[in-house]
């Protein structure tokens, strides 16, 4: 077990820099998820930690060692790959025991570790099969089993669930979480799926274009996003963003609608701003949560509704922008119906329209 420390880590291919001086401290036993859209450098970062990519600049520590130039085998890590990366010519048993065999451990010890891992992941009946004979979920479990048998300092997961169907993904997510609770090993986990990030992580690292946008617990990044990118990336459906300008201490939208500045935020008069509100915080009157301390209301025309059972997602237009809102205890809604919506201002955000940065005071 070990902490992982990235100091000014850079990855460049010739003149093209894809990871720009990243700093990240991961505590011992922490579950950190790197999340971001494809091409944001999260996988590259993970592969640099693994030693599969050369580090172009900066310093990488695992435990108390600088490991920049160490090959993967000397880093005492294990990794679960997106495509499982099972050895097709070996049985499940051989796959699980491979790293220990390479490390020249005693037969008995290998057998014990394999049995144990198979037990944890309920792979015991499959031990003599080859990967070609397994289903996707089973392969995924073998890949995880292979990672845990060697009791590494750090687990690395590279989008491990992206090849599974939705139901299996939820199930495996729970298993990974349980595994972490049971083993307590440091985990660095890469995904592009923000739901996975939110549900699994102790801390989330949101990346874009080779830079870290925000680091924080799932609740922190959800409740206090530092910019519009994080605000729209985390949470589903994405946060509604309304363009406006500060006029008389309010946010005036393009069609003249005025919204109060959310508490805890502030901006100079006349500044171009973006007003952010999640669907959970804008609901039709009579179908909403109990009001909070600061409320505002607007009238919007419903364009489309998506019934989800316990709630209905409404798509409405406000000042030329499509806004998604939620309706609790739903009733049927006619298209074009005009409804009054109430906004919980305490949960709303104000961003600079140009830089996208949050305007908190």
């Amino acid at each position: 077990m070990a902490q992982v420390q990235l100091q000014g880590i850079v990855k460049a291919y010739g003149a093209l820099q894809v990871v720009h001086a990243i700093d990240l401290d991961i505590a011992d036993g922490e579950f950190v998820v790197l999340v971001g859209p494809s091409g944001c450098g999260k996988s590259t970062t993970l592969r640099m930690i693994a030693g599969l990519e050369d580090i172009s600049g900066g310093m990488l520590r695992i435990g108390d060692r600088v490991v920049n130039d160490l090959p993967p085998r000397d880093r005492n890590i294990s990794m679960v790959f997106q495509n499982y990366a099972l050895y097709p010519h070996m049985t499940v048993r051989e796959n699980l025991g491979f790293s220990l065999k390479i490390a020249k451990r005693a037969e008995a010890e290998i057998a014990k570790a394999v049995t144990e891992a198979a037990e944890i992941l309920s792979l015991t009946p499959l031990l003599e099969r080859k990967p070609g004979q397994l289903s996707g979920g089973q392969r995924q479990r073998v890949a995880m089993g292979r990672a845990i048998v060697r009791h590494p300092d750090v687990f690395l997961f590279d989008e491990p669930l992206s090849n599974l169907d939705a139901k299996l993904r939820t199930q495996m997510r729970v298993e990974i979480k349980k595994l972490h609770q049971r083993l307590g090993t440091t985990i660095v986990y890469v995904t592009h799926d923000q739901v996975e990030a939110m549900t699994l992580a102790d801390r989330i690292v949101i990346m874009r274009d080779g830079r870290i946008e925000q680091i924080g617990t799932p609740l922190e990044v959800f409740e206090t996003p530092v910019n519009t990118f994080v605000a729209t990336f985390i949470g589903s459906p994405p946060m509604n963003l309304l363009e406006g300008r500060i006029t008389d201490g309010t946010v005036e939208l393009a069609d003249g609608t005025r919204l109060p500045i959310p508490p805890g935020h502030g901006a100079a008069e006349g500044r171009a701003v973006t007003f952010g509100v999640r669907a959970d915080n804008i609901m039709p009157v009579g179908h909403a949560l109990p009001p909070t301390a600061h409320m505002a209301d607007v009238e919007m025309e419903v364009q489309l509704s998506e019934p989800l059972g316990t709630e209905t997602l409404l798509f409405a237009m406000l000042a030329g922008t499509e806004v998604q809102a939620k309706m609790l205890n739903p009733r049927p809604v006619r298209l074009g119906e005009r409804l009054r919506f109430q906004i919980s201002l305490d949960k709303c955000h104000l961003f600079d329209a140009e830089t996208g940065a949050a305007l908190r005071v």
Partner: protein
């Protein structure tokens, strides 16, 4: 319609089957028959002179034949294995290059385009004890001042032939193994690295098993065409000096065309054919086994 309806696959395969029957199978039957006769090229009537298994018994008791047989198997074993190893090495080296790979790949195929008979002459020239490149170079560098009799000494001649054979055919292995290296999924190789393998270990335990089908394809292709070596040997030494490099094929050629003893040559030819077919089927079987090992194409 009253005409016989053949299944479409048979119709499609029929031309191939007919041609191969006419040009390969029928002659083979004829040669099988004539191998039981005392047929001599110069005396056509001898084709009907049935002598039973005399030719085979004669071959079995002919020391020259057995030497040639043993030498052929030895040559094939040494050459195929060395070609495989060298081809593997070459392919790995080329695959690790970052720029100019296309150029290297093309250059690598260079020897494949040479007619074997040309290769024979080329190396006959290069190993020539008087004006050959090798001796010239050795002498100019002062490594030796005598003309090394590459093609005149029995052992050296065998070496020169193997060298020429390897020169032409290593690229077949290299090219196919290179294709294999490109086709290998990167994930398992990386997983092996993370699992603690040294580069050698990940090659040995992960890359190599993946490459096996490709190696067997190369072996199978080579075994189909292994008698190309005949051209090379025939030109370079023609079995000489004093039969020290005599292979089955050169022996057959000499017996048939120089001594005109067709029946006897055909008997030996049959043994050579069976040897070749044995190699081919062996490698095709290996290929199938290696494929199912990896769970490919089942």
């Amino acid at each position: 319609m009253s005409r016989l309806k053949l299944p479409p696959w048979l119709v499609l395969l029929l031309p191939a089957i007919i041609i191969l029957m006419a040009v390969v199978l029928v002659p083979l039957v004829l040669s099988f028959y004539s191998s039981f006769t005392a047929y001599q090229l110069t005396r056509p009537d001898s084709l009907t002179k049935w002598i039973g298994t005399f030719n085979y018994r004669k071959a079995a008791g002919d020391a020259n034949f057995w030497w040639a047989f043993g030498r052929t198997v030895l040559l094939l074993t040494i050459a195929l294995n060395l070609e495989m190893l060298l081809g593997l090495g070459l392919a790995v080296m080329v695959s690790k290059v970052t720029t100019g790979q296309r150029l290297l790949r093309t250059a690598m195929m260079f020897p494949m385009m040479f007619s074997p008979v040309l290769v024979g002459f080329q190396f006959k020239f290069i190993f020539n004890d008087n004006v050959g490149l090798v001796n010239n170079a050795l002498q100019s560098l002062g490594l030796t001042d005598v003309a090394i009799p590459w093609l005149v000494d029995g052992h050296l001649a065998m070496f020169s032939i193997i060298f020429a054979e390897i020169w032409t055919s290593t690229s077949v292995f290299a090219i196919l193994i290179l294709a294999g290296l490109y086709a290998i999924p990167q994930d398992p190789v990386e997983a092996a690295k993370v699992d603690g393998c040294t580069p050698w270990q990940s090659f040995r335990f992960v890359t190599l098993p993946f490459l096996m089908p490709f190696i067997y394809i190369a072996m199978a292709i080579r075994s189909l065409d292994v008698a190309r070596a005949y051209d090379i040997v025939q030109i370079m030494t023609n079995g000489g000096p004093a039969r020290r490099t005599e292979l089955l094929w050169t022996l057959i050629g000499r017996t048939a065309y120089v001594d005109a003893r067709m029946g006897y040559a055909n008997a030996m030819g049959y043994i050579a054919i069976l040897l070749s077919i044995f190699f081919t089927i062996y490698f095709f079987r290996k290929l199938t086994a290696a494929r199912s090992e990896l769970g490919m194409g089942v």
